[in-house]
C-alpha cells in the first residue's frame, strides 16, 4: 500500500515498480502490486445494456470477472486482436470493496522501477483532456509513460452505470 494509495499526488510516493503496456502508440503504467496476473485473450461473454468498452465477463478459474477494453474506454479506435493482445487482471478498489477486473491492452511491455525523479505531476491539458485518471507522467529512456490511477479508471464505470 504505497504507490497505489489513492489521492496522493506527491511524486515521491508514486515511485515504485510499474507494469508498462501499450495502447495504440502510447505507453501506460500500472502499479505492479495491483497486478494479479496477465492472461492471453480469452473467450469473453458479452453482457447487454453496458457501454461498449465493457466487453463482458470471463471465467478466471471459476471466478467471474468483468473485462474492460481500455482502448475503447480511452476513446481509441477498436484494435484487432493479435497474438500479443492480452488481459491484465488487476485488483481494483470500488465503492463496494475490492474486486478483480480484467483490462484488455494491445501488449504488455515490461516491469519498470521508476524512481521519484523521473516522475512528473500531471500537467494541465485544459478542459479538453480529462486527467482524472492520470497519477503522473514518467520519463523513461526518452519515452513518456502515463501512470494510471486504476481505481479511477475502472471505478467510474459503475458510478456512471448506476446513474444511468
Amino acid at each position: 500500500m504505497n504507490a497505489d494509495a489513492s489521492n496522493i499526488t506527491a511524486t515521491a510516493q508514486l515511485a515504485g515498480k510499474y507494469l508498462t503496456f501499450a495502447l495504440a502508440d502510447e505507453e501506460y503504467g500500472l502499479p505492479v502490486l495491483r497486478v494479479r496476473e496477465i492472461i492471453k485473450m480469452m473467450d469473453i461473454t458479452e453482457v447487454p445494456q453496458v457501454p461498449p468498452h465493457i466487453k463482458g465477463v470471463l471465467n478466471l478459474r471459476g471466478k467471474v470477472i468483468p473485462v474492460i477494453d481500455l482502448r475503447l474506454k480511452f476513446g481509441f479506435a477498436p484494435g484487432d486482436v493479435t497474438s500479443r493482445t492480452c488481459i491484465i487482471v488487476v485488483d481494483v478498489a470500488l465503492a463496494a470493496g475490492r474486486v478483480m477486473m480484467g483490462v484488455i491492452v494491445d501488449h504488455v511491455s515490461e516491469v519498470l522501477n521508476i524512481p521519484a525523479d523521473e516522475i512528473e505531476q500531471t500537467p494541465e491539458f485544459g478542459d479538453r483532456v480529462c486527467t482524472d485518471y492520470i497519477k503522473g507522467m514518467a520519463k523513461v529512456k526518452g519515452t513518456v509513460k502515463i501512470l494510471l490511477d486504476l481505481d479511477r479508471v475502472l471505478g467510474t464505470d459503475d458510478a456512471a452505470l448506476r446513474a444511468a
Binding site: 473467450d43 461473454t45 453482457v47 447487454p48 445494456q49 471465467n59 470500488l94 465503492a95 452505470l161 448506476r162
Partner: protein
C-alpha cells in the same frame, strides 16, 4: 440422573445427539430471552419464548425416558405458566431461579453425553433437587424467597462450591464433555461451498472432455465414475453444512402475530408446522422479512374484526397457518389465513384506475390477483399503522424473485387466502435450461419455465409488422425476442426458432431463442458491482465448456419488455 434413564438413548446414538444438540440450543434461546425478560418483565412474547423451549425439552426428555431432565423442566414450566397466564409477574428472583435452571439443565444434558460415552457421570441430583425446591417455594407464594444453605444437601446449591474437595458438579460437568457441534464462521462455509462448486465444474469439464470421450479404458472410466460420485457426495455434504431449520424465521413471525393481533385488536391464532424443515441459512435470513410482511398484511387486511367474523358465521378467533415442507428438491412455505379473501373486483378496479391493465382487457383472476405484487398497489381504504401504504407486497415478490423462488396466491372470497412460496433449497446452485441466441448462451432458471414450443405460422400474430403474440392452446402470449432485447444476432422468425414460455408473477411471456441446448445444474456467480444496473440478467454461470453463460431473470425481462413497449407506444 441414573444410567438406566439413558437406556433408550444408548440404543439410538443419533437420536441422543439430536436430543442433546436441540436441548442445548433451546437452553441458549431461553437464556437470551430471560436476559431480555429481566428488562421487560411481563412481556408475554418473551415468556412464551422461554416457555416453549422448556416445554419442548420436557417433552423430548419425557419421550426419551430422561426423567430427571423432564422433572426439572416440568417444575420450571409450572412457574412460567403462572407468569404466562398473568397470575404472576416474573421478578428478578424468578429470573434468577430460571437462569439457574438453565445452568442445571445444561449440566444435566452434558452429563447425559458424558454418561453415554461410558465415563462416570456427575451426581447432579442434589442440585436438581435444590432447584426444584426453590421453584416450588416461589410458586407457593413465598415471593421473598431467599435460599438459605440447606443442611440436608450440603453447601448452598445456588452458590459455586468454594471447597476444593467437593467441586461444584455443575461446573465440573460443564468442563467435561464439550458439545459435538462447533461454531464456524459462515464465510469459511461459503468459501468451502464455492470451492466445491468449482470442483464440480472442473469434474464435469474432465468428464465431457472430447479427448477422453474417444478414449476407451475401463479403469479410467471406473475412476472417473468414482470421482463423480465423490464430488457429488462432497457437494451434498457442503450444502448440508449451510442448512438450518426454518424455525428462526417462523419464530419472528410468531412474534409479529402476537404484537399485531393485540395492536389491531384481532384475536389471531398462529399454527406453525414444519419448523424443522431445513434450507440454506442465507435463504432463512432472506425469507424472514417477506414472511413478516405477508403476515402483517394478512392481519391488517385479510382478517376481519371479531364481530364481522361472527356475522359471517366464522370463529371469532382468526387462524393463520404457517407451514413449510420439502417437495421435489424445493421448499414450499405456505401462509394460509381464514380471512375474507382477496377482493378480485376491487383489485381490478384499482388496477384500471392506475393503468396497470388496459381498459377492455380481460385478465384472468390469477393475473388480477398477481397485481397486488405491483409497486405501490394497495386497496386498503385507510392507511393504518400496520400497513396500507402499498409498500410491502412488491418488496415481497422482489425478495422472492431474488431467491429464484415463485409465489402463488389461492383465494376464495369469505374463506381466506393462501400464499404459496416455492424456493430452491439453496442459493448457490440453480437448475437451468440452457438456451442459445446467436453465439451466446443463457441459463433460464427452470422454476420460471412453463413450457417450450416451436409455434406453427398460423399461431404467430404480427403487430405492426413483427411477430408479437403467439397462441399457446387457447391463450395469447406476448413474444419477447431475447436477441432483439439484448442486441444480439438472432433468428427473427419464431417459427424457425424456439419459444420458451416463462411465467413471472402470474403473467406469461414467450421468450424467442434460437435453440434449446440442454438442462444443467449450474453454480450461480454474481457478476459484481460493475453490472449492478443490468436488467434481465441475474448472474453468471460457468458452463460445461468453461465459458460463462448469463443467467436470465424472467421478472427483469418482463419489466424490460414492458418498459420498451411503453416507450414505443
Amino acid at each position: 440422573m441414573t444410567d438406566n434413564e439413558l437406556a433408550f438413548l444408548r440404543d439410538d446414538p443419533e437420536m441422543a445427539d439430536l436430543f442433546m444438540a436441540e436441548a442445548l440450543d433451546h437452553l441458549g434461546t431461553i437464556e437470551a430471552a430471560l436476559l431480555a425478560l429481566d428488562e421487560r418483565p411481563g412481556d408475554v412474547t418473551l415468556l412464551n419464548d422461554i416457555f416453549r423451549p422448556f416445554h419442548t425439552i420436557k417433552g423430548n426428555a419425557g419421550a426419551l425416558g430422561v426423567t430427571s431432565v423432564q422433572e426439572v423442566a416440568h417444575r420450571v414450566e409450572n412457574l412460567l405458566d403462572l407468569a404466562r397466564s398473568g397470575r404472576r409477574t416474573m421478578g428478578p428472583e424468578d429470573v434468577d431461579v430460571v437462569l439457574r435452571a438453565v445452568d442445571v439443565l445444561t449440566s444435566m444434558i452434558r452429563d447425559v453425553g458424558v454418561r453415554l460415552s461410558g465415563q462416570p457421570g456427575a451426581d447432579l441430583a442434589p442440585v436438581a433437587l435444590a432447584l426444584i425446591e426453590s421453584v416450588d417455594m416461589l410458586i407457593s407464594g413465598e415471593t421473598e424467597v431467599r435460599l438459605k444453605p440447606d443442611t440436608t444437601i450440603g453447601p448452598d446449591p445456588l452458590k459455586p462450591d468454594t471447597t476444593e474437595s467437593r467441586p461444584d458438579p455443575v461446573s465440573s460437568a460443564r468442563r467435561g464433555e464439550e458439545s459435538t457441534a462447533i461454531k464456524v464462521d459462515t464465510r469459511k462455509l461459503d468459501s468451502l461451498v464455492d470451492a466445491v462448486g468449482e470442483l464440480i465444474i472442473v469434474q464435469s469439464l474432465i468428464q465431457e472432455d472430447p479427448a477422453l470421450a474417444n478414449h476407451v479404458d475401463q479403469r479410467l472410466a471406473g475412476n472417473l465414475g468414482q470421482l463423480k460420485r465423490i464430488t457429488a457426495g462432497l457437494q451434498r455434504s457442503a450444502m448440508a453444512l449451510r442448512m438450518v431449520p426454518i424455525r428462526q424465521a417462523f419464530q419472528k413471525v410468531s412474534r409479529i402475530v402476537r404484537d399485531l393481533s393485540r395492536k389491531a385488536d384481532k384475536s389471531v391464532e398462529l399454527v406453525l408446522s414444519g419448523e424443522d424443515t431445513e434450507l440454506d441459512r442465507k435463504m432463512v435470513e432472506e425469507i424472514t422479512d417477506p414472511l413478516m410482511h405477508m403476515v402483517r398484511n394478512s392481519i391488517d387486511h385479510a382478517i376481519e374484526p371479531a364481530a364481522a367474523r361472527q356475522a359471517a358465521g366464522k370463529r371469532p378467533q382468526a387462524r393463520i397457518a404457517l407451514s413449510a415442507y420439502h417437495q421435489g428438491g424445493h421448499i414450499v412455505i405456505e401462509i394460509a389465513d381464514d380471512g375474507k379473501g382477496l377482493d378480485t373486483e376491487k383489485i381490478k378496479a384499482r388496477a384500471l384506475e392506475r393503468g396497470l391493465i388496459a381498459p377492455g382487457a380481460s385478465p384472468s383472476a390469477d393475473e388480477i390477483n398477481a397485481l397486488i405484487f405491483e409497486p405501490g398497489f394497495s386497496t386498503a381504504e385507510k392507511v393504518t399503522e400496520i400497513s396500507g401504504r402499498g409498500v410491502g407486497m412488491d418488496v415481497v415478490r422482489r425478495n422472492i424473485d431474488a431467491l429464484h423462488g415463485r409465489i402463488q396466491i389461492a383465494t376464495e372470497p369469505g374463506k381466506g387466502t393462501t400464499f404459496c412460496i416455492r424456493l430452491p433449497l439453496t442459493l448457490a446452485v440453480l437448475d437451468g435450461l440452457i438456451v442459445g441466441v446467436g453465439r451466446e448462451r443463457f441459463v433460464m432458471p427452470t422454476t420460471g419455465v412453463r413450457e417450450s414450443l416451436r409455434p406453427l405460422p398460423a399461431h404467430v400474430h404480427n403487430v405492426q409488422g413483427s411477430p408479437r403474440m403467439v397462441q399457446v392452446r387457447d391463450t395469447l402470449v406476448p413474444l419477447v425476442s431475447l436477441g432483439e432485447l439484448f442486441g444480439l444476432p438472432h433468428e427473427s422468425d419464431p417459427c424457425k426458432a424456439t419459444v420458451v414460455v416463462v411465467e413471472d408473477a402470474g403473467s406469461r411471456v414467450g421468450l424467442v431463442v434460437d435453440a434449446l441446448l440442454g438442462k444443467q445444474e449450474v453454480v450461480i456467480k454474481s457478476l459484481g458491482e460493475t453490472f449492478a444496473s443490468v436488467r434481465g440478467i441475474a448472474g453468471g454461470a460457468i458452463l460445461g465448456d468453461g465459458r460463462i453463460g448469463l443467467i436470465l431473470d424472467a421478472h427483469g425481462i418482463v419489466e424490460l419488455e414492458r418498459g420498451a413497449n411503453r416507450v414505443a407506444a
